[in-house]
């Protein structure tokens, strides 16, 4: 988030090469960097900068496509989705630590005011309690939206998620009860200075649990549609919000109520030489790396956003890989047993896709370490590493 402040400052100063005479702070980049430049969210094609672009999404329902849009950042879009859910269904309740005054990331701003303190409320500081409470609400027919303040703090609730939420429908069997109404939101991912406990991306821990849907949006408009779909879904959903995008990613968001499909990937950019599969914030890094690689190497790269990381859209991925023959998976969390491992294994397992592979499946992800405060920029995938891996995959 500081990233953005400094970036704006730089833009305000102008496009000149003035260097700040201060010692390097977290948000600066090396003076001669060509690849590892801050993401320019104001111009990236991954965000809809105009109303027209926002409404051109064919996944939107007709009435929404004919309706207005509004400029929102990620936290505002999430707030908008929850506001819609609370208004359209009285069984929706929102709770967690510090959500009543608006949330530490502002995602629940004014919701208590508009929908009442009985429906939007603080809980005591207990993640296992929040999750168990949400499961109980859902088991009795409500649609709870529980917030875990940081994904790094979901572990006390792990038992409730794994052994209870995920298995509830299965063990209830013919009784037919479930906690499908449950949605768990949690901010995740690197933020530049989050250190060990404000940076984690534990999505692959949840993708190893049958019964949960795990979703990570990349943009405001997408977050709104996917969150509404998650809230209305009859399976328990883990909704992970890249917190670095809360304020940074701004785009035109349709104001109507709409869902984007779960378990469906989105091809963001078509290409024929390499497929890059990612989700969440690293998509912007992929986009920057692709831009450079296409310019430098004269190739074309296909970029796919998984959106739902489990159950994930194999069909779209396989089709793309069969076309390009070269593929790379990019994510922030540790490379070992991450989403990349699952995607790569599935690709080589599918006979038709395996036969089309021209190079080993590459994984660009966090190293097998914890997220260290001052080393984050060497740890999380960056534009240079993605760029280099595109070259490696092509050179194989």
């Amino acid at each position: 988030m500081k990233h953005r402040a400094v970036h704006q400052l730089r833009r305000a100063i102008g496009a000149s090469t003035i260097r700040l005479p201060v010692r390097r702070c977290y948000s600066t980049h090396p003076p001669n960097a060509r690849l590892n430049l801050p993401v320019d969210y104001a111009t990236t094609p991954l965000l809809a900068h105009s109303s027209q672009a926002a409404l051109s999404n064919k996944e939107l329902p007709e009435d929404v496509r004919n309706g207005p849009t509004k400029k929102m950042n990620l936290f505002q879009a999430i707030n908008d989705a929850m506001g819609i859910a609370l208004a359209e269904d009285e069984s929706v309740v929102v709770f967690g630590e510090d959500v009543a005054f608006g949330g530490v990331f502002r995602c629940t701003m004014k919701l208590a005011d508009t929908h009442g303190a009985e429906r939007v409320f603080n809980t005591p500081l207990t993640e296992q309690g929040i999750m168990g409470f949400g499961i109980g609400l859902a088991a009795e027919g409500m649609r709870p939206i529980a917030e875990i303040q940081f994904a790094d703090y979901v572990y006390p609730a792990f038992d409730q998620l794994v052994n209870e939420a995920a298995k509830f429908r299965y063990r209830d069997g013919a009784c037919g009860r479930s906690v499908g109404g449950l949605t768990v939101r949690m901010p995740c991912g690197g933020v530049g200075h989050g250190g060990l406990y404000h940076s984690q991306s534990p999505e692959s821990l949840f993708t190893h649990i049958p019964g949960l849907r795990v979703i990570m949006p990349r943009s405001p408009a997408q977050a709104k549609g996917l969150l509404l779909a998650a809230i209305r879904s009859n399976d328990p959903c883990v909704f992970m919000e890249p917190k670095i995008l809360y304020r940074a990613a701004v785009e035109q968001v349709p104001t109507g109520a709409y869902e984007l499909p779960l378990s469906k990937a989105e091809v963001l950019k078509e290409g024929k030489d390499v497929t890059i599969i990612s989700y969440g914030q690293p998509l912007y890094l992929c986009q920057s790396a692709i831009k450079q690689a296409e310019r430098d190497l004269g190739i074309s790269v296909e970029l796919i956003d998984l959106r739902t990381v489990y159950p994930w859209d194999k069909k779209t991925v396989f089709e793309s890989v069969r076309k390009t023959g070269r593929v790379m998976v990019v994510h922030e969390s540790m490379v070992n047993a991450g989403i990349g491992a699952e995607v790569a294994a599935a690709i080589q397992e599918d006979p038709d896709t395996f036969l089309r592979l021209e190079a080993p499946v590459a994984r660009v992800a966090g190293w097998s370490i914890h997220n260290p405060l001052i080393f984050e920029k060497f740890h999380l995938p960056d534009v240079a590493r993605i760029y280099d891996n595109i070259k490696r995959v092509l050179d194989y």
Binding site: G102, P124, T126, Q128, G129, D159, Q160, P311
Partner: protein, 449 residues
């Protein structure tokens, strides 16, 4: 332990960028200030505390143990003089028979497990009054969460031998579709959520479910007032979920009754290794929860306390209540446990002989002249027959279709699951000698797409 550093950063930034915002919902506690010369504390964390100049730590032993409420003593004699039975003699006999039913089923199934005819079993001997007594004063539509030693609740709410056996033998009548271990009962009809093995997880769920009932009534005043009852043992109360559940139920004013069966042991662990406070009841007060300790071998005490607790739970827009029922686990923990490895046989025999919820009610009934030896024998014979009949029928019944193993993971079968189901079918086709499929309804054909 959890760092809130970054949260504060976010908060501060928000406050800076929106100076006029946040006009609502801020707890007024933060605006309190300490009045000069006040005798009472005005710190937001404790508002009613008087200052003292005596340096004194509160010692648990300076407080007497919380008393244990009972109505009828070990001899079946009424000791609470204000007590009047609130149900007919026929109803009392029904509850008594429910208790006997559970105790007979326990013996039969324990032996059946020993013979290898089912994989596992847990008896509830010595604790029949807690489950049956409390269930009998709750409304049929009140929602229940059980731990696993509450067969009596299912019986009291109307389950038959056939339904118990269906689950125990995991046959096609098992509502859980053969997925859970024996004794992990569940029934939508009876409003009892399916039992899961992880201890205490049901407790914060009970708080949430109670909040749901409260909200549903707030949103539609025509909805009947209901409470949630949640059972757990004293061992489970050491889990973090117990703490979470009681605290959240108190802060959100949830109409939930927590019923602790304190039977002295968690598998081999005696209460002395479980806690050092005054049982579980003393904790309730710390959470701001109305609490009572009762004699769990006295079905009348259980009924009176639960009846009153239900009334209280619905007062003031809803609030939690804690009941600690003192009992003794007469049986082994489960069929996988030999409890004489950690406690003396004589101790168990003493409890069986001296005090037992079934004999206590029987003595009361005999004193009242509504029960005798002949009726006892008749009842035991017919219950035993009913159970054995259901037993042998259940054993012969088909198992649920193999397909059931893939269903209900998600609301609908995913593409992956469909593919895996087809793969399993292929295996069964290819290696027919390696798998026994005949006992499953529909054989391997249930795996067809």
């Amino acid at each position: 332990m959890k760092s809130r550093a970054l949260r504060h950063v976010a908060l501060r930034r928000a406050a800076l960028s929106r100076p006029q915002a946040v006009p609502f919902a801020l707890r007024s506690a933060s605006s309190l200030s300490q009045r000069p010369n006040s005798d009472f504390v005005s710190f937001p964390g404790a508002l009613k505390s008087a200052f003292t100049t005596t340096l004194k730590f509160e010692a648990p032993e300076s407080y007497p143990a919380l008393p244990t409420y009972r109505v009828v003593d070990q001899h079946g004699t009424v000791v609470d003089e204000s007590f009047k039975p609130d149900i007919s003699d026929e109803e009392v006999i029904r509850l008594y028979k429910d208790m006997v039913f559970i105790s007979i089923m326990d013996l039969i199934m324990f032996d059946a497990q020993r013979q290898g005819r089912l994989s596992f079993y847990m008896v509830s001997a010595g604790e029949e009054a807690v489950s049956i007594g409390s269930s009998s004063v709750l409304d049929r539509e009140d929602v229940m969460f059980c731990q696993y030693r509450e067969q009596g609740v299912f019986k009291e709410r109307g389950w038959t031998a056939k339904e118990f056996m269906g689950q125990l033998f995991a046959n096609k009548r098992d509502p859980g579709r053969g997925r859970s271990m024996p004794v992990h009962y569940g029934s939508k009809e009876l409003n009892i959520h399916s039992i899961s093995s992880p201890l205490a997880t049901q407790l914060p769920q009970a708080s949430g479910a109670a909040y749901a009932l409260k909200m549903q009534r707030l949103q539609d005043p025509n909805v009947k007032p209901r409470v949630v009852a949640a059972f757990f043992g004293e061992g489970a109360a050491s889990e973090g979920d117990f703490h979470a559940a009681l605290n959240i139920a108190a802060t959100r004013s949830c109409p939930v009754i927590f019923i602790c069966r304190n039977n002295g042991y968690a598998i081999s662990t005696p209460t002395l290794d479980q806690y050092r406070g005054d049982g579980i009841a003393s904790r309730g007060i710390g959470y701001g929860i109305d609490t009572i300790r009762i004699d769990g071998n006295d079905i009348w005490a259980v009924r009176e306390a639960t009846k009153k607790a239900r009334e209280m739970a619905l007062q003031d827009g809803g609030k939690p209540v804690l009941i600690e029922a003192m009992t003794y686990r007469v049986s082994h923990h489960s069929t996988s446990d030999d409890s004489f490895a950690y406690r003396a046989r004589v101790e168990v025999e003493d409890w069986k002989r001296r005090d037992n919820p079934i004999t206590r009610l029987r003595k009361w009934m005999e004193a009242k002249g509504i029960w005798d030896e002949t009726k006892e024998k008749e009842a035991r014979d017919s219950l035993r027959k009913e159970i054995l009949k259901a037993f042998s029928e259940a054993e012969r019944e088909k198992k649920p279709p193999i397909r059931a193993m893939f269903e209900d993971v998600y609301e609908e079968l995913t593409e992956d699951l469909k593919a895996q189901m087809a793969e399993l079918k292929e295996m069964l086709d290819k290696y027919p000698e390696e798998y026994e499929v005949a006992e499953f309804e529909g054989g391997k054909d249930s795996l067809k797409p």
